[in-house]
C-alpha cells in the first residue's frame, strides 16, 4: 500500500520553507518530489530595474549564509565587463573574507548535521566556535552577516596590523578545536553508524545529474572551481582539492572537515603574504555592451552568475544559479529507497540553502485504486470522526502512584 506524505513547508527539521512530497511504502521512500517556489522573491526581475551599485546589495541578500559568495561572483563578473583590473591588496582581502565565510559556513553545517543526527552537544560546541569567526568578521567589516566588503575595483575597508594578529591567534584556537572534532567524530561509533551508508549517490549518477560542491566531491570527483577556473588570487595560493570515496553522508562530512583545515592554511598564507598598496581602483559608471559568465566556489558548491550589459548603468539580464538548485536532482536520487528517519540527514547533507535556490494530500485508495484530493480541513474532519467512532470500554483505571 502506498501513501503520499508531504513534508513542509513549515517543519521543525527544516529551517526554510520547502515542500517534499514523498511516496511511502511502510518506512521506505519509493519516490520523492520537491515542490519549490516558497522562497521565490523575483530577484532577477528586480535586478533589471536597479543600477549596478544597488545590485551589489541586492545580490548579497540572495542568501544569508553564503551572502559574500553571491556578492563576489557578481562583482567579479561586472569587473570583467568593465575591463577593470582590481587592486592587489583588495583581491587578497577579498579572498580572505571568502575563506572566513567558508569556515563559518562549514562550522554551521557541522552543527546542523549533529543536530539532525541527535548529537545536540556537538551542535552547541561548533556554534560556540563559530562565534569566534563571527567576531573577526564583525571587527573587519562592521556586521556579523552581510558584510558588504566588495566594491567594483577592490574592497571597501582595510585591515590593520592588530586585526591581522588577532586573526592569526584565533586561527590557532580554531585549528585545535577542529582537530578535537575530527577525533571525536572519527572515534564515536554511534555518530559514525548513524551517518555511514545513508544517502548513497554513485559517481556516475552524480556526474549525470550535474551535482556540485561537497556532494559531488564525496563521490570521488575532484571538481573545484578554485582549481578549474581560478578567480581572485587562488592561482597563487597552494591548497588541495578534498575528496572522499564513500559516496554517502559520512563522506560529505569528511570532505567538509578537510576543507576547513585547508581553509585555515589558506588564511594563514594570505595574511603572511598580504601586499602593500591601495585597496581599490576607480570604476566607471556606465558599462558597455558585453556579457560575462562568472563562476565561484561557494561553501555549498559552484555558484554561477551570467550578466549581460547594454551600455547603460543598469544590467540587461542577471541570471543566478545557486548551488543548492543544482543538487536537487541528486537529492531526489538519494532519497529513493531510503528511510523516512533519514530524510532530515540526507537533506542536511547537501547543505540546503533554499533561499541563493500542505495544503493538498493525495490519497490513492488501496482497495479500488481511485485517487481523490482532500484539503487539510477535510482530512482533519475525517480524523476526528474516526476517533469518535472508536468504542472502548471505560474501565476504572487505577493510577499506579
Amino acid at each position: 500500500m502506498e501513501y503520499k506524505v508531504a513534508l513542509g513547508p513549515q517543519h521543525p527539521a527544516l529551517h526554510e520553507p520547502i515542500s517534499i512530497r514523498m511516496t511511502l511504502d511502510g518506512e521506505i521512500i519509493r519516490d520523492a518530489d520537491l515542490k519549490l517556489g516558497y522562497n521565490h522573491r523575483g530577484i532577477e526581475k528586480l535586478a533589471e530595474s536597479r543600477t549596478y551599485i544597488q545590485n551589489l546589495y541586492l545580490t548579497e541578500r540572495i542568501c544569508g549564509i553564503c551572502s559574500f559568495s553571491h556578492q563576489t561572483c557578481y562583482t567579479q563578473g561586472v569587473e570583467k565587463l568593465m575591463e577593470l583590473v582590481p587592486a592587489r591588496r583588495g583581491l587578497y582581502i577579498r579572498t580572505l573574507v571568502c575563506e572566513l565565510e567558508r569556515v563559518h559556513s562549514h562550522l554551521l553545517w557541522l552543527g546542523v548535521a549533529g543536530q539532525e543526527a541527535g548529537f545536540e552537544s556537538f551542535f552547541m560546541y561548533t556554534w560556540r566556535d563559530r562565534e569566534v569567526v563571527m567576531d573577526i568578521l564583525d571587527w573587519i567589516s562592521g556586521n556579523r552577516v552581510h558584510y558588504s566588503m566588495n566594491t567594483f575595483g577592490g574592497v571597501r575597508r582595510d585591515i590593520d596590523e592588530l586585526q591581522k594578529k588577532k586573526i592569526l591567534d584565533s586561527l590557532g584556537l580554531l585549528k585545535s578545536r577542529t582537530e578535537y572534532y575530527l577525533n571525536l567524530a572519527a572515534s564515536e561509533p554511534t555518530f559514525l553508524g548513524r551517518l555511514a551508508g545513508v544517502g548513497k549517490l554513485s559517481k556516475e549518477t552524480a556526474i549525470a545529474l550535474c551535482a556540485v560542491g561537497p556532494t559531488l566531491r564525496a563521490s570521488g570527483v575532484p571538481m573545484d572551481v578554485r582549481k578549474d577556473d581560478p578567480y581572485a588570487v587562488y592561482d597563487e595560493v597552494p591548497f588541495e582539492v578534498c575528496t572522499a570515496d564513500s559516496c554517502d553522508v559520512l563522506g560529505r562530512a569528511v570532505v567538509r572537515v578537510k576543507e576547513l583545515i585547508q581553509s585555515y592554511l589558506i588564511i594563514e598564507f594570505l595574511l603572511k603574504n598580504l601586499p602593500e598598496g591601495p585597496i581599490k581602483v576607480k570604476a566607471p559608471r556606465k558599462v558597455k555592451e558585453n556579457e560575462v559568465y562568472s563562476r565561484y566556489e561557494a561553501p555549498r558548491g559552484e555558484n554561477v552568475h551570467y550578466i549581460k550589459s547594454n551600455g547603460s548603468d543598469k544590467p540587461e539580464r542577471l541570471k543566478v544559479r545557486a548551488p543548492t538548485l543544482a543538487n536537487y536532482a541528486a537529492t531526489i536520487a538519494m532519497l529513493k529507497n531510503g528511510f523516512i528517519a533519514d530524510i532530515p540527514l540526507i537533506f542536511a547533507a547537501i547543505d540546503p540553502c533554499i533561499c541563493c535556490a500542505e495544503r493538498l494530500v493525495q490519497l490513492d485508495s488501496a482497495r479500488n485504486g481511485e485517487s481523490r484530493v482532500l484539503t487539510f480541513s477535510q482530512l482533519r474532519a475525517m480524523a476526528n470522526q474516526r476517533y469518535k467512532n472508536v468504542n472502548f470500554k471505560k474501565k476504572d483505571i487505577a493510577w499506579p502512584f
Partner: protein
C-alpha cells in the same frame, strides 16, 4: 588540451552545424548554433572533450528573438552554446537525453519566459505560485507588474 585546440577542433569537425565559434576571454569559448542542431552539438562536445557538467541554461529576451545559452564547464574551458528562437514560435528542443541534469533549468525557462521545450520529461511549473495566472511570464521585457499600494497598519 588548451582552449585554442578545442576551438580549432570544433571548427574543423562540425563546421556544417556551427554558425560561429570564437575564444572571447581566457577559458571562455562562444559557439553559435541553429536550434535544430543543438542535441547533435552537445553530444559531440560530450563525446569528444568530456563536457558533462551543465552549469545552467540562461534565457535572454532580445525583443524579436529569445536567446538561450547553455553553459558547459570543464577543467580546461567553459563553452557557451547559444541558440536563437523567434518570439512568434518559441520552441526549443530538450537536452535531457544528453544531460539528464538539465530538467530543472528547462522547467524554469518554461515558467519565466513561456518557451515551449519539446520532449521535456516533466513539464510541471517549478518556481511560480500555484495560483499564478497562466500566460503571465515575469521575465519577459514587456511584462510589467502593477504594484498594489501597501497597507500601513495604524493609519497612513
Amino acid at each position: 588540451m588548451n582552449p585554442e585546440t578545442i576551438v580549432e577542433k570544433i571548427h574543423s569537425d562540425i563546421k556544417d552545424k556551427v554558425q560561429e565559434v570564437a575564444l572571447t576571454a581566457p577559458r571562455r569559448i562562444q559557439v553559435k548554433v541553429g536550434r535544430e542542431h543543438l542535441n547533435a552539438v552537445l553530444t559531440y562536445l560530450k563525446e569528444q572533450f568530456g563536457y558533462t557538467h551543465l552549469g545552467t541554461i540562461s534565457g535572454v529576451d532580445l525583443g524579436e528573438n529569445f536567446e538561450v545559452v547553455y553553459h558547459l564547464s570543464d577543467g580546461v574551458a567553459t563553452v557557451n552554446v547559444r541558440i536563437l528562437t523567434p518570439r512568434s514560435d518559441p520552441k526549443i528542443p530538450s537536452v535531457c537525453s544528453v544531460i539528464p541534469g538539465a530538467i530543472l533549468y528547462e522547467r524554469e525557462l518554461q515558467d519565466m519566459f513561456g518557451l515551449v521545450v519539446e520532449n521535456i520529461p516533466d513539464p510541471r511549473p517549478l518556481l511560480l505560485a500555484d495560483d499564478w495566472p497562466a500566460g503571465e511570464y515575469p521575465l519577459r521585457k514587456d511584462w510589467v507588474f502593477d504594484r498594489p499600494a501597501e497597507i500601513i497598519p495604524g493609519g497612513a
